[in-house]
Symmetry: C2
């Protein structure tokens, strides 16, 4: 099979960020203990005009510029999004038109927080077709509109978008070595969005955390076993942001030092499907991720989906 490479990444964070002091001032019932557990210091909050297509287009333009690819050269565009959904139409065609990606076919994927890796796998499939040489994956979510103001979840979630130009027949960028896609529909009813438009968790948070960690481990173990690798052979793990608690539990479960887990959760919040590409971009830009590094991406999504992707830079 032809390799998929992530040629470039771009992100967009809302112009307005909300820090903990501001949140606690508005909602005094949110205490220090909540803040510590969640582990987020500041998170972007989209204004009304910063909707999913708006953020997607801006992240996409940065990624396209960095890859020196024009929008017209894109063969496909996959928009990953759960927080702004319509019956019809899909939102991806709107992004396609705004970008001027006239040649690209475009459609939406959901998969909640597992969406970026699901989209990478879809793109990998398309790129096997000699007609398609490059595409764009954009994850864009304003998850803060789906959490009740003043709830603990409002501490956690941030809005934002991240885009990746993916291509075959290129020599540079993260090479997708392998991916693992898992679904456990028996855990379908763990979380959903109620009639008020806000996310509801139907089990105890602790149960979600434990399931999340065991699922992340399961996805990673299965992928690494196929590649005859261990967790110790990986330079870094970039998990879907989850919560600070989930990330700690993951490190403990794998007996890995915390420094092996790369996250920008404290500064952007849980940006759901955009978590992984946002973190990858951050740590490429600051020089942490460099040529030769092997990185394991792991995510879970409400549904229940658990996924992994192994990339090499």
């Amino acid at each position: 099979m032809l390799d998929l490479r992530i040629s470039s990444l771009g992100t967009y964070l809302p112009r307005r960020a909300v820090d903990n002091a501001t949140l606690v001032a508005s909602y005094p019932e949110l205490g220090e203990r909540d803040l510590d557990r969640v582990g987020v210091v500041s998170r972007g909050e989209a204004d009304d005009d910063e909707d999913v297509p708006y953020m997607a287009v801006r992240a996409a333009r940065t990624a396209l510029e960095r890859a020196e690819v024009s929008p017209e050269a894109l063969d496909f565009l996959l928009l990953v999004n759960w927080s702004e959904r319509r019956y019809v139409p899909d939102l991806a065609p709107r992004v396609q038109a705004l970008l001027g990606a006239n040649k690209a076919f475009a459609f939406d994927l959901g998969c909640a927080c597992a969406g970026f890796i699901y989209a990478l796998a879809v793109a990998h499939g398309y790129l096997q077709n000699p007609r398609f040489r490059r595409g764009l994956i954009v994850a864009s979510d304003h998850s803060r509109r789906r959490v009740r103001p003043g709830s603990r979840a409002s501490l956690l979630f941030g809005d934002g978008a991240a885009a990746a130009v993916v291509a075959a027949h290129v020599e540079r960028g993260f090479r997708l070595v392998d991916y693992e896609l898992g679904t456990d529909g028996t855990r379908h009813e763990l979380m959903d969005v109620g009639p008020d438009g806000y996310l509801v968790t139907h089990v105890r948070q602790r149960e979600v955390n434990e399931l999340a960690v065991s699922s992340l481990v399961r996805a990673g173990r299965s992928l690494l076993a196929r590649q005859r690798l261990n967790f110790g052979d990986v330079d870094y793990i970039v998990p879907h942001s989850g919560t600070a608690g989930i990330q700690s539990l993951l490190a403990d479960t794998l007996s890995l030092p915390r420094e092996k887990i790369l996250t920008n959760l404290p500064s952007v919040g849980n940006v759901t499907a955009a978590s992984i590409p946002t973190a990858l971009e951050h740590f490429v830009q600051n020089g942490t991720l460099r040529a030769g590094h092997r990185v394991l991406m792991l995510a879970v999504g409400v549904g229940w989906q658990y996924v992994g992707g192994l990339v090499e830079l």
Copy 2:
């Protein structure tokens, strides 16, 4: 690239059907002229318990039995649906669990009426991966819940589901020769669903019809040109059901006899994403489609998407 074949098809229609006499008795403002234009005689109407996963599972079981594939042997499951959408979770994992397709990863695709062919293309990509040998595509929609009772649209739409087992490394069934995926996001705002949950068309019906036909022709022409074929080289065209008016206009535009266009629109209504697989199943079962036939599937989807797929039996 490895071939994708549709090993088998299965459909599910609601236990209750609504005929024209019943509709006109309830809504006397619907006249003969409306009935003629729409071209539907009877359409299924799902009961409350016949939701999208329910119909999907039943269509899937039929398809799996016919292919002699057990649910546990499925590597993936793609659910195409626009009429029952949630923020989270995707509905596909629910179908995965109900079927007992424990090994399959599962997620949703929208793409409105173009969804089946988009899903075929996604499946074709996955099947290039030697890990994945067979999957299931299910289109399941209860579109009648998205149209205002007594509207002209209520004459047109029917509820139902259709499933296709798709596989590589098999010798029988429709072989996917090529596909064409098009998106024109500049026509994004043609139709959507209003706050009351009902479909709204923002332009004149005539404009939709003309755009639909020119888009179907464009998708077909582009695909056939790549294969060095003409419309005359195709035994049958199976269009997304659309309306009788769109089907007539399509035949006229291509100067093809009406018999070349295979549709079961009159008996099931416009079953949106399930249209094409429902028609394929119908005409395989009644012996119209036989070994040696070359069939061009064409569809448009609100968004705006226009797609084609060429299969050989």
